[in-house]
């Protein structure tokens, strides 16, 4: 078995590799025989204002090498990821890749298992304030689900009553201590045996609102491709919550843009709304404890902090074809306070690290390791940039302009604005000011470091159940 290869060491591996890369660059730079910067030159703007500027720029060779390294790393990673996914999809190794498209095609060739049907599972833990709205948006879809089941987990409020009032089914978890994943496993154990190949199962959060057309688009895709194993929703942030909300909305807009540029190739099948072919869920349950981590028979890994990220890696590990199309969009809540945002992101970060730690370095997790490494290095790079800026501020008492770096800076501003263009004037206005988003990035970097330290020292995470929801009531 390949599970548990890294566990807590995942933090050390990521941290040490990122730091090692940075040190390597540092020593390479130090051995390059650098000379101090030239003194600034005095000049005039419009013949009136006195300015100091410094035209110094790195040598052209250094610029070209740095650009080449950046682009080669990005392109190399993209090619590698593509190769890994193609290889597993085209595999005929039923032991290792039971969900490989090639195998699924063979097994279902010439067989019509009936039209696509859709069963929606909504795990809910005291969701009386949001459930009614969720059900309304779900039942108003142009392609209505065939069956809606609220999976009530240890609810002490009127969640069950609201669900029954709206005429949907309710499954109440029995003695579940494994939170959402445990409740879903109980529900799936009950319904999966009766699902045919085209009887899709959707899992969506009780606080999620689907955009119209989501279900119709997903059903069309599953109809057109019998090897397609899962469709994940593309989420964007709800309106409101001021600047903090806008930071998160900008982040989600950039993520959605990235998904589109990846032609729907998924990073995470979001827990907010994802649809699975029953064969995919059965294969995951059957392979847990063998080729993928977890308890045999469980669809969701109850030990995972981020069960949606975990099931994505599980499906990819089994060779499944999964997509996140741009017309399957959902509105997700944004955190209303810094404190809740901190908790949410720490949970995501810790969960992501735990997941790759549990799977080890496999072809399917390669992209996730690279992502963590990129984040780790980003912490160092942004930290060094911030330190340099601060040191310059406290060492000079007159502003000096650097035309070369200003030119580069303007491209960063353009990138920030361009990538959130679809978010409207508020998103663009925030992006163009650069500094607030830089501070937000520093915040996320701090979360990244804290998550990595926590997992390294095995600090127990005491994750409550979405405290932000209760606060909103």
């Amino acid at each position: 078995m390949r599970m548990g290869r890294f566990d807590r060491a995942v933090g050390v591996v990521i941290g040490a590799t990122a730091l090692g890369g940075a040190l390597l660059l540092w020593f390479a730079v130090a051995s390059g025989g650098l000379t101090p910067a030239k003194q600034p030159t005095e000049g005039f703007v419009v013949g009136v204002w006195t300015v100091f500027y410094n035209t110094q720029a790195p040598p052209p060779q250094a610029i070209l090498v740095a650009i080449a390294v950046g682009l080669l790393l990005a392109a190399g990673l993209a090619l590698l990821e593509r190769r890994v996914s193609n290889r597993s999809r085209r595999s005929t190794d039923g032991q290792l890749y039971p969900l490989a498209a090639k195998l699924v095609m063979e097994q279902t060739r010439g067989v019509f298992a009936g039209p696509v049907t859709l069963t929606v599972l909504i795990p809910a833990y005291n969701e009386e304030d949001l459930l009614a709205g969720t059900l309304t948006s779900l039942l108003a879809q142009s392609r209505r689900p065939d069956r809606v089941i609220v999976v009530a987990d240890n609810c002490t409020d009127s969640t069950v009553a609201i669900a029954r009032q709206r005429g949907v089914e309710v499954i109440q978890s029995q003695g579940n201590t494994k939170k959402k994943a445990g409740a879903l496993n109980q529900a799936l154990t009950a319904i999966l045996p009766r699902q045919g190949d085209n009887d899709l199962v959707m899992v969506m959060d009780a606080d999620t609102r689907l955009d119209d057309g989501f279900l119709a688009a997903a059903v069309t895709r599953f109809t057109d491709d019998r090897a397609l194993m899962a469709v994940g929703g593309l989420f964007y942030g709800q309106e409101g919550f001021g600047l903090l909300g806008q930071f998160q909305r900008n982040e989600y807009i950039r993520y959605a843009r990235e998904m589109k540029r990846r032609r729907g190739r998924v990073f995470v099948l979001t827990g907010t709304a994802s649809i699975f072919r029953p064969a995919a869920l059965r294969a995951v349950a059957a392979n847990r404890g063998a080729t993928i981590p977890g308890t045999p028979g469980d669809v969701y890994d109850t030990a995972a902090l981020t069960e949606d990220n975990e099931i994505t890696i599980a499906l990819k590990s089994l060779g499944a074809l999964i997509v996140s199309p741009t017309d399957c969009t959902v509105v997700t809540e944004v955190m209303s306070t810094v404190r809740t945002l901190w908790r949410q992101r720490l949970r995501w970060q810790r969960g992501a690290l735990e997941n790759i730690g549990a799977y080890g370095m496999t072809p399917a997790t390669l992209r996730y390791w690279a992502q963590q490494l990129g984040l780790g290095y980003g912490v160092i790079a942004l930290g060094a940039f911030t330190l340099l800026t601060l040191l310059m501020f406290v060492s000079v008492d007159t502003w000096v302009w650097f035309p070369f770096w200003l030119g580069l800076g303007s491209v960063f501003v353009a990138e920030r604005v361009f990538t959130v263009w679809k978010g409207g004037w508020r998103a663009r206005a925030l992006a163009i000011t650069i500094v607030p988003e830089l501070v937000y990035d520093l915040f996320l970097n701090t979360v990244h470091v804290k998550g990595t330290i926590d997992i390294t020292f095995g600090r127990k995470a005491a994750w409550g159940r979405a405290p932000e929801k209760r606060r909103r009531q």
């Binding site: 730079v29 130090a30 682009l71 057109d224 019998r226 397609l228 017309d327 060094a384 940039f385």
Partner: protein, 100 residues
């Protein structure tokens, strides 16, 4: 003006301006410079339209049979291509709706 320039060189707010000439600062600024150029290249790549090599190299990506759940349905290309195609269809539809 010369005195202004001299002031820039000789004094700082918290650290002496000579700190900017120190070995540590020079290495730090070169380190940050190289990182900035790497991230600059990535930022440019993010702004520019993405090039899909696979669009030019077909062959292995061509489908030889239908992937529909209905055995007699027509053949559609790669899944990603399928995603793109549907988006294009959607845009065309939206465009014609607006035109009407």
């Amino acid at each position: 003006m010369t005195s202004g320039l001299a002031q820039v060189i000789s004094s700082g707010i918290l650290l002496p301006a000579s700190f900017l000439q120190s070995g540590f600062f020079v290495i730090l600024s070169a380190f940050v410079a190289i990182n900035t150029i790497v991230y600059f290249a990535l930022a440019v790549a993010k702004i520019l339209p993405k090039v899909y090599l696979v669009d030019w190299i077909r062959g292995a990506n061509r489908r030889s049979e239908t992937r529909s759940i209905r055995p007699n349905a027509p053949i559609i290309g790669e899944v990603e291509e399928h995603v793109e195609r549907r988006e294009d269809d959607g845009r065309h539809r939206a465009g014609s709706d607006r035109a009407q």
